[in-house]
């Protein structure tokens, strides 16, 4: 153990004397680890946000959304709508209690001469307050709910202080797409950044603003009566939609998705797993390139220090001693790179989190991720150093000494 400690010191000393090259090699690892840590922390953050949001929705809700859930881009971009007869069909399904239709879009909102693009949701207050308040745990921090049909809005908790420079207060006037609205209520936090930075208004008014046809909606949340099985109702809603849509000519029957909140969590988990897998794949390439950099430096170093290796062996160093010293050097390069990469990744994650007004997720750097980043980079260093170190260890003392004579 005593010897190992001394070998470690020698390795450190050797690195210090060729610092520029060491730093450049370290940089290669920094970039790779930085990629892994920042991307994984962000995807971990997204995952948590989604889980949180889904949990806030409760387990007894069925979502009806346009597009195929397996194709998320089409789902949010297709612009497909639920028509009036679709919605009426859903309402008629046995077991359905309330159908809350919603539409949403980012709109230009002005407050005190300051314009911001804010996510705006239209939901029908007549049915909405009940679902939202009793069922999904919405509550007002201040003010009251808007009167349906009146130009009144409630705002998410973060809109109050964090979106506009001036604080938005109950009774303030805001202008959405040129129309005046009164802020009548401020919500308590809903647990997700997206919801907390949104503005909510009555669906018909929203549709007047955006030109969306009245009676239609982008999506619907269905609350079912107590004691009715969720999956079965979801099936029936699907059938009803197929029926109403088939009646209309030219509509593809499969351009909507009916999902329970449980299933949504599964799907989100699956998608994120794929994303994380891809991230790890790409970042691994960066790490491998960094590892090759270490290998290259170590080979050069073995060549340059052939004579030193010869001397060490002549004065009694065993092969193992030389091997350990060189492995330490490579491992330390990896480890320092790992520390740098983790620190940078952590900083980036925090920066994104803090200026995340427009982003709907936070970054999570878990201790596990840090430990992973550090041990992984040390391991990569050692592995990359293995071949050069073995080469150094196998040098014959007499040949190593002769090399430059």
């Amino acid at each position: 153990m005593e010897q190992i400690k001394e070998y470690f010191k020698i390795a450190l000393r050797n690195l210090r004397t060729r610092s520029l090259r060491s730093w450049l090699t370290i940089l290669g690892i920094v970039i790779g680890v930085f990629l892994i840590i920042s991307l994984l922390s962000l995807s971990e953050g997204i995952k948590q946000t989604i889980t949180q949001q889904l949990r806030a929705l409760g387990g007894e809700v069925i979502f009806v959304m346009p597009g195929e859930i397996s194709d998320p881009v089409a789902m949010f971009m297709s612009g497909a709508q639920l028509e009036r007869e679709d919605i009426e069909g859903i309402e008629r399904v046995r077991g359905v209690d309330v159908v809350l239709t919603m539409s949403y879009q980012s709109l230009l909102v002005r407050h005190e001469d300051e314009g911001k693009t804010i996510f705006t949701s239209g939901l029908s207050w007549e049915k909405g307050t009940e679902i939202m308040e009793k069922f999904q745990g919405w509550s007002l921090k201040e003010g009251g709910w808007p009167v349906p049909g009146k130009r009144e809005v409630v705002i998410g908790s973060q809109v109050e202080n964090n979106v506009f420079e001036k604080k938005v207060e109950v009774g303030d006037e805001i202008i959405i797409k040129g129309k005046r609205f009164e802020v009548v209520g401020i919500l308590n936090s809903l647990g997700s950044k997206q919801d907390d930075t949104s503005i909510y208004l009555d669906l018909p008014l929203y549709q007047d603003l955006t030109g969306e046809k009245r009676g239609t909606a982008q999506m619907a949340m269905v609350k079912i009566k107590e004691g009715i099985p969720l999956d079965k109702t979801a099936e029936e809603i699907k059938k009803s939609l197929e029926k109403t849509r088939k009646r209309r000519v030219g509509f593809d029957a499969a351009d909507f998705s009916v999902i329970t909140s449980e299933k949504m969590e599964d799907i989100a988990g699956d998608i994120l797993a794929v994303i994380q897998f891809a991230i790890i794949g790409f970042a691994s390439i960066a790490i491998i390139v960094g590892g090759i950099g270490i290998m290259n430096t170590m080979f050069t170093s073995v060549r340059e220090r052939t004579r030193e290796i010869g001397i060490m062996k002549a004065i009694g160093a065993k092969n193992r001693a030389v091997l350990i010293i060189f492995l330490f050097e490579a491992g330390i390069i990896g480890l320092i790179g790992g520390i740098g990469g983790t620190a940078l990744g952590f900083i980036l994650a925090k920066v994104i989190e803090n200026c995340g007004q427009a982003h709907y997720f936070s970054a999570t750097v878990s201790p596990g991720l840090i430990v992973f980043g550090l041990s992984f980079s040390f391991l990569v260093g050692c592995l990359s150093g293995l071949i050069p170190a073995t080469k150094a260890a196998k040098l014959k003392p007499v040949e190593a000494l002769r090399r430059y004579e």
Binding site: E308, M312, A314, I315, A317, K396, R402
Partner: protein
């Protein structure tokens, strides 16, 4: 001389043949010799004579193509690389022409390095290293790096390193080759002192006849063979 002569290093009909592409180069042609405890031996010979190869054999840095090398009566061909390294580090100390100090390490660190390989404790290493450097007049240079030292000082650090594990033999390859004659003389005085006071066995390779004058025994090597052994100076017995 009637005292029992203990052979520390023994070469028995040692041949060394290098394969240079298709050409064979015979560097040593059946050399036999003994280095006894307490000897001060000089090996002389022109360049290309096989002097360095012979030194590598005596220093157990290389294995012969034919013949046997015994280090304290152990056939080195029977030892593993690691065992040989360990034994070499304990029994033999090296002093090289180019000093061959570790450029990254300070004087004391260079001196204590061989002790690390022998597993000597840190306290003992520091104490011994410091004592050696002080005894060689380098008390004020302990924490200097080789680049900050003069040639003579560097060679004295190298001698201290060679003596670190209290070896039985010190092998010096042209120890004064890179030094001016005045400094060279001082270095030889140091070696002689360790030989006389501590009874260390010295093997010095040189081409300088003045240096050879310090020794009691002289091997002259030419074309891979020992041609003269000055111990039997009066007779000039030819080897074979």
């Amino acid at each position: 001389m009637i005292n029992i002569m203990e052979s520390i290093i023994k070469l028995e009909n040692v041949w060394k043949i290098y394969q240079l592409g298709k050409v064979e180069l015979t560097a040593l042609k059946g050399v036999s010799l003994d280095i006894y405890r307490g000897d001060f031996v000089t090996i002389m010979g022109p360049s290309g004579s096989g002097k360095s190869t012979l030194l590598n054999m005596i220093g157990c840095l290389d294995f012969p193509t034919k013949g046997k090398v015994f280090l304290k009566e152990r056939d080195i061909s029977q030892l593993s690389e690691d065992q040989l390294s360990q034994l070499r580090g304990k029994i033999i100390g090296f002093v090289f022409q180019e000093f061959n100090l570790m450029p990254n390490l300070t004087a004391i660190e260079n001196v204590t390095l061989p002790m690390i390989f022998q597993g000597v404790s840190e306290k003992e290493r520091k104490e011994r290293g410091k004592n050696l450097l002080v005894s060689l007049g380098l008390g004020k240079r302990i924490n200097h790096q080789p680049a900050e030292l003069s040639g003579g000082e560097r060679q004295r650090v190298a001698i201290a390193r060679a003596l670190a594990n209290n070896p039985e033999v010190v092998i010096a390859d042209e120890p004064t080759g890179n030094l001016d004659s005045h400094t060279g003389k001082k270095i030889m005085e140091v070696l002689k002192e360790f030989h006389q006071k501590e009874g260390k066995t010295m093997v010095v390779v040189t081409h300088d006849p003045n240096i050879a004058g310090y020794s009691e025994k002289l091997f002259n090597i030419k074309d891979g063979e020992i041609i003269q052994n000055h111990l039997q100076a009066q007779k000039y017995v030819w080897n074979k």
